[in-house]
């Protein structure tokens, strides 16, 4: 892999307009990645998802040179219909179209900021890989006191024209004081067997509100890793919702630092998996100052050789008195071929806190099935009704009504 990495790295930047200082800086990330390699199950974080092995068996050797210069065509069928929104369209990692038609032009800024990379130098090997190969470092800034009028949908398309087996994408968001942004990520793949590595970095200033909905429901054979870092200042709020279902493998990692008083973070997720899919959600919510709050709810429904993993950590530093942290994970195993792994973790260094977690996994409740059947529904209907109800609970945590309904209709959940 090492040779390929070096070769593809050079190819990627031989014609770029980055100066040599910047390229050298990227090279450091590359070297770090070469040293560490793809993560495998020897690392605690990857205990239940041996990425290096999965990539080896599913894809084989990776190539990294992704020629994104030729433009792709966009057609209107790519967009979500019946719902007004701004959009950014990525096709095979190239930003094809940015359309912020519903927003005031001087309130939103899109720029490139190379320096930002420095802030992410010690996160993990995949972020290093990302930093080594991402050419552009977009920053979307929402100016003080401005709230996005309509949601921003980021479309992540891939198709068969993709040039390499590895695709890296990085986006930064800065929400200035008293702003709000609703962001929907739609993963839509027509490519096969690629490793897609995404890194989002959010900075929420005082009173900012971020709602991020990540939707992966289209069946595809790609392997995905997404790292989301959220820095939160005083009284800010983040809501992250993950619908994880379509890809062959997908690991969503959310790291949230509650740096300011009264900041709060919500992470809710659904892992609905079949056909040998293997998905993971790993969170670490770090309460670093007083009076912060976090809430996590993750539910999984598994059938046909699927495997779901939830690793959730609540960390409370000794300065973070009056923390309120809660975490719950539940899984329904519909078949013996499925597997659920959980590692709900608490690490606490302050005494005046309220923290708890719960985890439950197993079969559907037989008594509930009996109750429903005694009202005239057959076994299959009873089962579907219960699963529907089981998942609805998470969907109902979505605070934006319009988006809630959108997602409901996407997965065919009934109320």
């Amino acid at each position: 892999m090492e040779k390929q990495l070096i070769r593809d790295f050079e190819k990627s930047f031989e014609n770029s307009n980055l100066d040599s200082k910047k390229i050298n800086f990227k090279k450091e990330f590359l070297n770090k990645f070469i040293k560490e390699g793809l993560p495998g199950k020897n690392l605690e974080n990857w205990k239940y998802s041996d990425l290096s092995k999965i990539i080896k068996t599913e894809i084989g050797d990776l190539s990294f040179y992704n020629n994104i210069s030729p433009p792709n065509k966009i057609d209107s069928s790519m967009y979500l219909s019946g719902f007004e929104h701004n959009s950014i369209v990525f096709i095979n990692g190239r930003a094809e179209k940015i359309d912020l038609q519903f927003e005031e032009k001087d309130k939103v800024k899109i720029s490139e900021d190379f320096e930002l990379e420095k802030t992410s130098s010690n996160i993990n090997s995949l972020v290093n890989l990302n930093n080594a190969f991402t050419e552009k470092n977009f920053v979307l800034t929402v100016k003080e006191n401005y709230s996005f009028k309509k949601p921003l949908v980021i479309y992540h398309y891939t198709n068969k024209k993709i040039k390499s087996q590895n695709l890296n994408l990085r986006l930064n968001f800065e929400l200035e004081k008293n702003t709000s942004l609703k962001l929907i990520d739609i993963l839509d793949d027509f490519s096969e067997k690629n490793f897609i590595n995404t890194f989002y970095n959010f900075k929420l200033n005082q009173d900012a509100i971020l709602k991020n909905y990540k939707v992966d429901i289209k069946n595809n054979s790609n392997i995905k890793y997404s790292f989301t870092n959220i820095e939160q200042d005083k009284n800010s709020l983040s809501e992250t919702f993950i619908l994880s279902s379509g890809s062959a493998f997908n690991k969503n990692e959310i790291n949230c630092n509650l740096n300011g008083n009264y900041s709060s973070a919500f992470v809710n997720g659904i892992l609905s998996l079949n056909k040998k899919k293997h998905h993971e959600i790993r969170t670490s919510v770090n309460h670093l100052t007083e009076s912060t709050k976090s809430y996590q709810l993750i539910k999984s429904v598994l059938e046909n050789n699927a495997r779901a993993v939830y690793q959730g950590k609540i960390f409370v530093s000794s300065d973070a008195q009056k923390t309120d942290g809660y975490q719950l994970s539940k899984a329904i195993l519909l078949e013996d071929t499925t597997e659920f792994n959980a590692k709900p973790e608490l690490e606490i260094y302050a005494d005046d806190v309220k923290c708890s977690h719960g985890s439950a996994s197993g079969s559907l409740n037989e008594n509930s099935i009996f109750y429903i059947m005694s009202r005239g529904l057959n076994y299959k209907e009873a089962k579907e009704l219960l699963i529907n109800g089981f998942l609805l609970d998470v969907i109902n945590k979505i605070t934006d009504e319009e988006i809630k309904n959108l997602i409901k209709s996407m997965i065919g959940l009934k109320e």
Binding site: L333, E335, D336, E339, F340, K343, P344, I348, G358
Partner: protein
């Protein structure tokens, strides 16, 4: 507000209690193997114990394996490197070259030691209905109530004696639950273990009394590597207690025991521990490194193994008493109270491996951290594909006293069976001002109030202990936390 006099008396009380109650050492001449870990020392140990060849070979095999194993490093508490060549692996009171035939032959100094520890070995003062096997440094010094047990066919003796008298049982079961190659400390123990207890309960026999071992580390620079093997044959029942203390020393002492339990069809083993090794002084100097491997195998159908532990001592504790639920319908339980204060560190929990059908496990863990200490619950529950209709219930609660200490909960949960259910709950809390105020309003001082509340917090676990131990454990819980409330 506290009045001055209560403040003074409290401080005096604390001063008194800060001193580890069992921190004296006994001045007895010892026979020691030369310092260091090598084949010679292993041969020396095996030779002095007149062991059969198979056991020497077994030890040497473990030693070979040890050379390639690394010390584990995934636990949270780290410790300074141990120089294994600078330890004594065998130490026995000189008067013990030939084991005394009766208690009258025991060195009076030893008897005195056990008296100070509250473990009377002499006939007239025997504890009510508890048979005791006392282990001093590396060797078993006395076993009480032997006759009464022999009547029922129960074997309760030191493992050295069992090797001589019941080699077929030892050979069959030794290492059958904790394999030679398991991990560094377990393998170290297999190479150099010196003594420990052995219990065999024949089919259908309900052991009429509690069996107990009392461990004491006395000699300095000595590792204690005892080995316990308990076999409950079909339809039998036994309850076993373990207690331990060590003198105060500035250096850290290593304790790496292996305990193996085997329950055959319809058998039940209850294993209780009150661990009160020297925890080090209030600045974290000295204390025992308690790196213990305890594992039970529910081998037969309908068998049951229940672990109860009250862990208050040691500078560093790593232990995960586990159950392998192999037999259909077998049950595993783990009840734990772990308390750390000052600079103590504990990383403890359990493993429940469900292999058989209809297997059940229950984990109740209560962790309390105070001072500058650090406490980790680490547990694993694994329900395998074939373990139809299995159940696990886990509850882990932590209590923090102050914000200089830490509580860490790390459960690993795996479910591969769609007909099995697994539930885990964990909370972290503190003693509320309201609770304290309420108790104080009813006339308790703050130490008493905390003791009361903490004992309430631990109640579910304390209830699991045999009566004779429960009272002692309750006191211990109070003492361990003295000085931690302001």
């Amino acid at each position: 507000m506290k009045t001055e006099s209560s403040q003074n008396s409290r401080e005096k009380e604390i001063e008194k209690l800060k001193k580890y109650k069992y921190g004296f050492s006994t001045d007895i001449e010892n026979t020691k193997a030369p310092k260091g870990l090598n084949e010679e020392v292993i041969r020396f140990i095996s030779n002095i114990k007149k062991e059969p060849k198979w056991l020497l070979d077994w030890r040497l095999k473990a030693y070979q394996r040890l050379k390639v194993l690394k010390e584990p490093n995934w636990q949270k508490p780290k410790y300074p490197k141990i120089n294994y060549q600078d330890l004594y692996y065998y130490s026995a009171p000189k008067s013990f070259k030939e084991k005394p035939k009766s208690l009258d032959e025991l060195d009076p100094k030893l008897l005195e030691t056990y008296k100070k520890l509250g473990i009377p070995l002499q006939e007239q003062k025997r504890l009510n209905n508890i048979a005791v096997d006392a282990v001093f440094d590396s060797v078993s010094v006395a076993t009480t109530f032997k006759d009464k047990l022999t009547e029922k066919g129960i074997i309760f003796c030191s493992i050295s004696e069992a090797i001589q008298k019941h080699p077929e049982l030892v050979k069959k079961y030794l290492g059958s639950v904790i394999p030679l190659t398991d991990h560094f400390f377990a393998t170290l123990n297999s190479a150099v273990f010196t003594d420990g207890s052995f219990v065999y309960v024949p089919p259908g026999v309900r052991c009429p009394m509690e069996l107990s071992t009392y461990f004491r580390i006395n000699a300095s620079d000595t590792g204690q590597f005892e080995r316990t093997l308990i076999i409950a044959d079909k339809g039998s029942y036994v309850s076993y207690l373990e207690g331990c203390t060590a003198p105060m020393r500035d250096e850290n002492q290593l304790h790496a025991a292996n305990v193996e339990l085997i329950a055959l069809d319809d058998a039940e083993i209850k294993y209780s521990t009150v661990q009160n090794w020297y925890p080090g002084d209030k600045d974290g100097k000295g204390g025992i490194y308690n790196f213990v491997t305890k594992r039970g195998l529910c081998k037969g159908i309908n068998s049951k193994i229940s672990w109860t532990q009250v862990e208050t001592g040691s500078a560093i504790t790593w232990k995960y008493p586990s159950c392998i639920l192999k037999g259909d319908n077998s049950i595993g339980e783990f009840y734990s109270i772990a308390i750390t204060n000052n600079h103590q560190k504990a990383d403890t929990g359990t493993k429940m491996i469900h292999l058989g059908k209809n297997t059940k496990s229950k984990i109740i863990s209560k962790g309390i951290s105070a001072g500058f200490s650090d406490m980790t619950y680490r547990g694993l529950v694994d329900i395998s594909k074939k373990a139809d209709n299995s159940r696990n219930y886990t509850q882990c609660d932590s209590l923090l006293m102050g914000n200089k200490c830490g509580a860490h909960t790390v459960p690993y949960i795996t479910n591969k069976n769609s007909g099995s259910n697994l539930a885990h709950e964990a909370t972290t809390s503190k003693i509320s001002e309201e609770q304290l105020h309420y108790c104080q309003q009813r006339g308790l001082n703050s130490e008493e109030a905390v003791g009361l509340i903490v004992n309430g917090f631990c109640k579910e676990v304390l209830q699991q202990l045999p009566m004779e131990f429960a009272v002692e454990a309750q006191k211990l819980v109070g003492i361990s936390l003295e000085g931690s409330v302001g």
